[in-house]
Symmetry: D3
Subunit: 324 residues, 6 copies
Amino acid sequence: MTNQAIIPWEERPAGSSEVMWRYSANPVIGRYQIPSSNSIFNSAVVPFEDGFAGVFRCDNKAVQMNIFAGFSKDGINWDINHEPIEMVPGNTDMIESDYKYDPRVTFIEDRYWVTWCNGYHGPTIGIAYTFDFKTFHQCENAFLPFNRNGVLFPEKINGRYAMLSRPSDNGHTPFGDIYISYSPDMKYWGEHRCVMKVAPFEDSAWQCTKIGAGSVPIKTDEGWLEFYHGVINTCNGFRYSMGAALLDLEDPSKVLYRTQPYLLAPAEMNELTGDVPNVIFPCAALSDGEKVAVYYGAADTVVGMAFGYQEEIIDFIKKNSLSV
Amino acid sequence: MTNQAIIPWEERPAGSSEVMWRYSANPVIGRYQIPSSNSIFNSAVVPFEDGFAGVFRCDNKAVQMNIFAGFSKDGINWDINHEPIEMVPGNTDMIESDYKYDPRVTFIEDRYWVTWCNGYHGPTIGIAYTFDFKTFHQCENAFLPFNRNGVLFPEKINGRYAMLSRPSDNGHTPFGDIYISYSPDMKYWGEHRCVMKVAPFEDSAWQCTKIGAGSVPIKTDEGWLEFYHGVINTCNGFRYSMGAALLDLEDPSKVLYRTQPYLLAPAEMNELTGDVPNVIFPCAALSDGEKVAVYYGAADTVVGMAFGYQEEIIDFIKKNSLSV
Amino acid sequence: MTNQAIIPWEERPAGSSEVMWRYSANPVIGRYQIPSSNSIFNSAVVPFEDGFAGVFRCDNKAVQMNIFAGFSKDGINWDINHEPIEMVPGNTDMIESDYKYDPRVTFIEDRYWVTWCNGYHGPTIGIAYTFDFKTFHQCENAFLPFNRNGVLFPEKINGRYAMLSRPSDNGHTPFGDIYISYSPDMKYWGEHRCVMKVAPFEDSAWQCTKIGAGSVPIKTDEGWLEFYHGVINTCNGFRYSMGAALLDLEDPSKVLYRTQPYLLAPAEMNELTGDVPNVIFPCAALSDGEKVAVYYGAADTVVGMAFGYQEEIIDFIKKNSLSV
Amino acid sequence: MTNQAIIPWEERPAGSSEVMWRYSANPVIGRYQIPSSNSIFNSAVVPFEDGFAGVFRCDNKAVQMNIFAGFSKDGINWDINHEPIEMVPGNTDMIESDYKYDPRVTFIEDRYWVTWCNGYHGPTIGIAYTFDFKTFHQCENAFLPFNRNGVLFPEKINGRYAMLSRPSDNGHTPFGDIYISYSPDMKYWGEHRCVMKVAPFEDSAWQCTKIGAGSVPIKTDEGWLEFYHGVINTCNGFRYSMGAALLDLEDPSKVLYRTQPYLLAPAEMNELTGDVPNVIFPCAALSDGEKVAVYYGAADTVVGMAFGYQEEIIDFIKKNSLSV
Amino acid sequence: MTNQAIIPWEERPAGSSEVMWRYSANPVIGRYQIPSSNSIFNSAVVPFEDGFAGVFRCDNKAVQMNIFAGFSKDGINWDINHEPIEMVPGNTDMIESDYKYDPRVTFIEDRYWVTWCNGYHGPTIGIAYTFDFKTFHQCENAFLPFNRNGVLFPEKINGRYAMLSRPSDNGHTPFGDIYISYSPDMKYWGEHRCVMKVAPFEDSAWQCTKIGAGSVPIKTDEGWLEFYHGVINTCNGFRYSMGAALLDLEDPSKVLYRTQPYLLAPAEMNELTGDVPNVIFPCAALSDGEKVAVYYGAADTVVGMAFGYQEEIIDFIKKNSLSV
Amino acid sequence: MTNQAIIPWEERPAGSSEVMWRYSANPVIGRYQIPSSNSIFNSAVVPFEDGFAGVFRCDNKAVQMNIFAGFSKDGINWDINHEPIEMVPGNTDMIESDYKYDPRVTFIEDRYWVTWCNGYHGPTIGIAYTFDFKTFHQCENAFLPFNRNGVLFPEKINGRYAMLSRPSDNGHTPFGDIYISYSPDMKYWGEHRCVMKVAPFEDSAWQCTKIGAGSVPIKTDEGWLEFYHGVINTCNGFRYSMGAALLDLEDPSKVLYRTQPYLLAPAEMNELTGDVPNVIFPCAALSDGEKVAVYYGAADTVVGMAFGYQEEIIDFIKKNSLSV
């Protein structure tokens, strides 16, 4: 993986004291950016060659959910393919999918791995690898249904691949915690452990209904930096916000710190209105070790970005941590 | 029926490739257009004399639902009566209504027929006729409760009146398909047949929860052109979009083609926000054989319009059809 | 209709002061009375030739619901056919049924009419006629779905066929009132009126959740005598009991009297336990003008009988009436 | 209580015929007005010294709910403390609270009383008094859980303190009526009476799901003037609007008049969008006998104001009253 | 209160090692013991004159719920009045009741106090006193709705009356904990404290859904001995069992010990079947200091009894206590 | 595995034509068979030494769910340990369990494997092995929660262990299909495939709500013979019945045949009443190649047995198969 691209960035607005702030030109990707799309959101990007590649959730105007490859020089202006990714068999011949959504992407060792919510008699975690974002090799689904928000760590841990995920049900699941699972081979998974549960309502209501892993974790000296979403069930529906956690580098099932306040919650018009109002849903984070750029789905309709300094973010998490 | 009025029209915006496009001055009818109204939406219009007449759903500020007559020269600027329609007995003395909403209007043979959702121990389909939009003769309800979205065909089929409708339950029904029923006399109804069911989630999610007839069908060489609404149940509520179908001219219980993608879905601020966010609900379509103007309720608050060329619409339906 | 058969009867037990009492040898029909059956219940009988004929709900061991003809000399010992009724077209070619259950039978003018809950994209009311209980001619479904408990009056009223029914939803409907509809021809139905609604909890809780017509009404000097079921929703499920009403002879949408106390409620072991515990569900009543024999489904598993003197029953209804 | 401050006011907009109208610079308090806040809404104000004091619901960015004191010279520009109110024991040592929200404030005899929704194994009504808005003395909770919207009358009635409240359940309660209770000592409460119930859907749907007391009642010659909220359950969630009632001065459990139409319903963008869309939730009203200024939470996010002439409002209530 | 009557008793069956055992002739009161009754259950008894008096829940055959006085010499053979208790005003004129059910009775100082679930716009706790079980003086309801299972302590505690109760909702409440409240005068209530909450599923599932006070507490050297019910929500409904707790004599909001295993759970046919299967619901306990006789409703249909030695019961509670 | 024990057996009753019939002395294990038990049900047995061993679900009187070893010479008279199984670490140190229930047992190669529903933040599949039914070595949970009814095949298939299971949710799951998963090492699992889904209501309603694997599959020439349970959701709760399927020997994700009618459904009093009425839940089957003895939980309270001839059962499945 070449990582020479300069990550997209915009300075903290004058007068702001927020630890993370939005891109002033949000949304970076509009709902109709490709001809067939009804909405483009909950998408993932990764450094690629001299720029960036990404896997994008584009729901078409039949509201069929699928994932599309895209490319960018600067991480902000994107060329998204007009046709969805076609899979070829990787370690399985079973590449059936009723739908694909909410992708994440990471580079491990020699290739890029994509995970997504894969429709196989209900939502579960699909896995594929690619070397070039042209040919994608689909592997066995990681788990039995019903699962969402499968996120791989960017390197093996104790010799095994590691994945965060959220067991769920077959509808608009009203509960959900984050687990970790391990695999020697990206085919068989086990050693499942509970990592983080929802917070008590009185301690941190924005994450009291369900939580789910967001970005591929960023390795830092202080632990794995993971941006995740939390949900509160208001009388008028779910509200999705973004927080972050630091997981132990050796044993990432251990949460070292976890934000009690959110880092970002729906407040801009493109987050408050759209196909699903009041959603901020992070799926990717770029870091150059100093700066961090987070990509998040807004209102299940468009893609927004937010920025922050990694050291400040880590400091904030540690100083504003829920007891974990 | 004189049909000399020129239907309201606005050309496709430059650069647009959409098969249907919105009126640039939406909403055409605002929520407070009559003094008592909280909202005006889900309303129907028809050519009348040298212009147009309509029946409008105006919820007043007690949020009582009722239907009001209105008139327009151009189909865009409307004078809506300040008092609701008072019914006189037609083929029944039972003209009780707890509420009236979501009217449709059509001309058959010698008079205008209005159907609406009529509150009689729950929602069912009310029927009335008028010659002048001043005196309305209420007839027997078509069906037992619970039913909504009763839409008459504009002519008899095989000698019988024909009506599309959606059996429902007594609340915010989370299911619903379109049926057809026939009547020799607008009093007794039977020969009920299922016409269209919701689509599988993975094929066309915008219409996977419930569907309902919208406009009075337009007779074309390719079949009855019917604009209908479809609903998806998101985690934050129902989202209503508009599609269209072509029904067999001889046996309209047969669907010839039906849009897999929607034609119009909530995306403008007056569709995304309002008393019920994320609703586009067509109730009428004017056609001069070449051009089509659709009236739809937006966010259960105002009335919007959209336009398209009939031939292009038909072509789109045929080329983008769900397998039916 | 010859009506010479002596109706089944057993005297009131010594010491009892109940207005209606159970047959001492209940159940009269056991769950396994035909080889294929899982359960036989909610069934209807009628005088036929020199004895009785009936239409029986027999769920087979795949728990498929269907209706079967049967015959008896005495109304107690029944020969039920081992094969379900096969329909031939009556006034329709559409004789599709996903399932058939809960039949009622009555003789009108020259033939026997059967109504039942017919599966056509959900439950609605199927209609058929027979002259001999061998050949059954299926007619158009009376209504759009969703409806259950369709019960014909045994003669035309003001020249039209009349049917009681209960609009419902597509599941274990938690509400339900009794309506009447009329038809000139057993094909088209209209003039729908609400007849009886559930009772307030504090007045008569056994019928506060839903009610439904049971037996074909019996014509008496005091009005149409109708046995119906009422349901209370306990914390452990629905409990079905039996009451009765007197409807106006000329306008049966008018309730003259209606039992505040039940006439029969689940209390015997074959009513308290079975496939659906705590159900008494009347579907037929035989009367010779003096004595009445009611057939009811018990626990959705077997058929029970109860007896009473018609005059006493009418007297009881009038003296123990809900304000209607 | 000194009451010399001039209440905030803005004249009715030209051309408007509304009985109450919004402040043109709404919201008066923004969501981020104090550093920790996610939202500030559902808050109460009262004349204090030569200006105004208030108790504000500020949810912090962990979405913990708490109440904060604030001060203003003009009722529009507010200094809200950055730290929540710390209670000291009043007539109880039990000052535990899982959360505090939706405060109301009134002056009785010699001190200011605050009531709020207090988290004690679920929501119930907390009570505290203060002389200076610096030290707050917490008293016994008025009721067992589950209760919300506790509002004190501004003087004793027949020698006892009087409180309106709404019994509820432990979630997003889908029902709710207004009751009154009395106390000799602000410690023990009794003589509970039902005051107002939800309206029938067909009469006044905006208040058909639940209602709750809003402002501290204003004493007028025509009765206690109470601004309250009403809720309708749309297919996309609860919509909260504002109405008003006149309660009998001597026996405020008697409703004299009550608005059938709402006085204010969500229509502005800051009411239609926010953490909970479509909410207008009044918690306080200032009156100088001539003019009235109402403070309401908008979309569970910010505070808005509306104005009206007291005489016109009373006249409107009387002329547009539900039968009560 | 004279307490000379010998409490009903039957020795532990041979071979049994149960700490409490059933009466061999259960049910002691059958469902039809008075002419009007559908069921008699959840009833309370107390020593009275030279025998016992009781207040019985008798649902009539309209399934109207009411309470009836009854008398017995031996506590087993009961004469229950055929007419329900008629109240006269005690400390209130508001003696309206939509229904009355689940009474408890105790003697305090100079009179007998009855509490019950009183229908006043939903369930709340009714209170009355009597000297003779002939004239009953109804007092103010203790609480706002919604509440059930109000149980008085048999003496004042620190000079105030004390009552256990369970806040609930307006349906088949799926949650519920036990609280205590105090009153100086049986009119105003306050100082509400949570006493006992449901147990974690994995610790004691029979009491994991809701719990409620049963008998009037028995004063012992080891604390107040309280028999209560616990509920588990199985896939086929609620199952009610009986446990017991010891509460601190001085401060009964403190639980000293509480049974982890149940003392009695539905297992006999009259507990497993009936109007509501699988219910054991204790409402009274007689103690002579050595022996204890518990009266419980079985299957919401009849009354059963169980016996035990007080010392053994207390010992069992202490040795088998949940951590509290 | 020695398999010399003669399997328990009782001949088909005279006059019966059932393919499977109940043991005449059911239940074989009563609810109180060990001192601590509230109920013993859903238990598994296997040939062991010169008789049989088993793992039994015994819920204690705190209704804590755990599994216990037991032994029998004849498969009918059982000695069940009074203490639950204590696990030692197998291939994991994580042997935490909130509860254990519904065990299955099979012998593979050199040891006995037990699977059960293991409480780890919700239900999932626990695995352990034993050589002697004294020491049990707990392994990694097979899956993430939420899962139930994990059943191992009695030999490796294509070199991998194979397990049937049912993904579910965290409550009384109202859906559920049977999947198969494979493992090279009893630690990591993958290659998940859907095997059998619920049947359409109209084809086989007893298995239309959810299905789950029951017994360890029996290898036969015609395929793997699997006894499973199916559930219908009646208005009064779930009813569990037993059917059987034949799975392809080489690829058991292929269903060859599957019973449309049930083989056994609740009809005896110990199946109709108990802690959960109307449950037959098979967990084990013994076969000597000719005869089959099935153990099933009855009403979540006791253990029953049923018998049949293997060839007849296979023949019945093939002749009465759902189209699969």
